[in-house]
């Protein structure tokens, strides 16, 4: 990716961050007004964590999506379509059911374990170089299973309030998270992204096929283990704090590969940039929609992402049929 090409998403991202922190404008003026204490509290306690979570969650989903797509040699692999997000949600719900919602560390560990379980199950079901149909069917089965078990755990919830809280969280939201919660998601997610970036070169070599990559000295078994673990840690940590948000991990890598000439591995960092931008923009859009209550961001990404996914499937079908 050229420096100039990277400037566009970087500039848009900076604009989204600025808007995310400053909208509505009146709040910005209040930072220097008479009630500045309250305005600063709003900025630091509400806006900053929300913006940080949008950036880290978007970047994590997209970087994981790019890495998983490169690993499976399939542009339709992504954390949500492969059941990773549902697995993480199940892990977090089960943990919440067993020990309550009060411990973010336990929730994070539960979500990471759930994501890891889902990814390992996917590898076992779909195989190393998954055909699109097998990958999607295996992902669908894992999502369905995780979804059913999540609903079961919710149905057995001790009180209707607990049920409502968990349901609200499951739909995916960045609202009302504290700085501490943002840190709980942000640190593991940032570490996972940085380590995924180090896998760019072997994942690019994998484009030549597993055998060639191995003959070049890349340890494919270790590479697979790293991608699975880092994706589970990044996605799990974010799901534990913000619930399940879909489609960013599918869409961002597709745009990113256009900037890297189709290279799947070196698309990880532009994907992270685009993913952060997409989720920050989606969060701005959610705030702008006048619905009376805030639309869960997961609903918006699904509303926009699902038609894109359908277009992608139709496009692939046309190409195969041609």
């Amino acid at each position: 990716m050229t420096g100039r090409a990277a400037c566009v998403p970087a500039f848009l991202l900076a604009a989204a961050v600025a808007l995310s922190l400053a909208v509505p404008w009146s709040d910005l003026a209040a930072l220097f007004g008479q009630d500045r204490g309250l305005a600063w509290a709003v900025l630091i306690e509400l806006r900053v964590p929300r913006t940080l979570l949008a950036l880290t969650y978007g970047a994590t989903l997209a970087a994981s999506g790019a890495a998983v797509q490169a690993l499976f040699a399939n542009p339709l692999a992504s954390p949500d379509l492969t059941g990773t997000t549902s697995g993480a949600a199940l892990g977090a719900v089960v943990t919440a059911y067993l020990i309550g919602l009060s411990s973010p560390v336990a929730l994070s560990i539960g979500a990471v374990a759930g994501a890891l379980g889902a990814l390992l199950l996917l590898l076992a079901l779909a195989g190393r170089r998954a055909e699109t149909a097998t990958l999607l069917l295996a992902g669908l089965a894992i999502s369905a299973l995780a979804g059913a078990l999540t609903t079961l755990a919710l149905a057995l919830a001790p009180s209707p309030f607990a049920f409502y809280d968990a349901y609200d969280w499951l739909m995916g939201s960045l609202v009302d998270r504290s700085l501490a919660q943002a840190a709980f998601a942000g640190f593991p997610a940032a570490a996972a992204i940085l380590l995924l970036l180090r896998l760019s070169r072997p994942l690019d070599a994998l484009a030549l096929g597993e055998e060639v990559a191995e003959s070049m000295g890349h340890d494919i078994v270790r590479l697979r283990r790293w991608v699975v673990c880092l994706t589970a840690v990044g996605v799990g940590a974010c799901v534990a704090i913000c619930g399940a948000i879909g489609f960013v991990g599918l869409v961002a890598p597709i745009f990113a590969r256009r900037l890297t000439g189709g290279h799947p591995g070196r698309a990880i960092w532009p994907a992270a940039l685009i993913g952060a931008l997409l989720l920050a923009a989606a969060d701005l859009a959610v705030r702008a929609v006048p619905l009376g209550r805030t639309l869960p961001i997961g609903v918006l990404t699904a509303l926009l992402g699902a038609p894109f996914f359908l277009w992608l499937v139709a496009n692939m079908r046309w190409r195969i049929g041609r």
């Binding site: 690019d204 030549l208 096929g209 055998e211 060639v212 003959s215 070049m216 189709g262 290279h263």
Partner: protein, 226 residues
Amino acid sequence: MIRATDIALAGRLRPLSLELERGALVCLVGPNGSGKTSLLHALAGIGGPAGRVEIDGADVARAPRKQRTRLLSFLPASRDIHWPLAGRDVIALSGASAAQIEAVIDLLDLESLTTRRMDRLSTGERSRILIARALAAEPALLLLDEPTANLDPLWQLRLLDLLRGRTALVAMHDLDAALANADRLIVMNEGRVAADGPPEEVMAGSSIGAVFGIERSNGRWRALGQ
């Protein structure tokens, strides 16, 4: 000198040792499933080290990745690339220098193909790009699985010509091409070496008939017993 000691792959390749002279074009023939690809995999370290492979004294399994691209390269029989990369980008994935990439593009006359996406090329054109990828870093040992498959007659001749003088182990099915071009011929059967030596001697021996169930009469290959 390339020396492979006690290389084996469970169920596919019986333990064997092999020495290859530098600069020799060695053709590897054998029926389907005889272990040609397995031998190439074992030498390339695919599926983990399958014995000790030394190239000019360097142990391939222990060589750092940068050095390894200069020691050996492997061309698989599959010509599929999973991502829509441009031809030049595929060649660049070899780790070769810019000058080496230009040289190999020139050598295989690929200038018009390098900017096109792999998924928009014919199988033969893709083959040439992938062969260029294997040759680009000028490795000491080339392990090529059916490099002439999908190539038109002219490019089959050109390829075998330009392999001469390089150290290459080439799995192929065309016995006549192997006879005409190889410095040495290895016949594989049931995961072991059935014959090994100068091509004329191997072809004159009984192993070709025994392994393939074919014989040469009046300059043509026929199935035994016909």
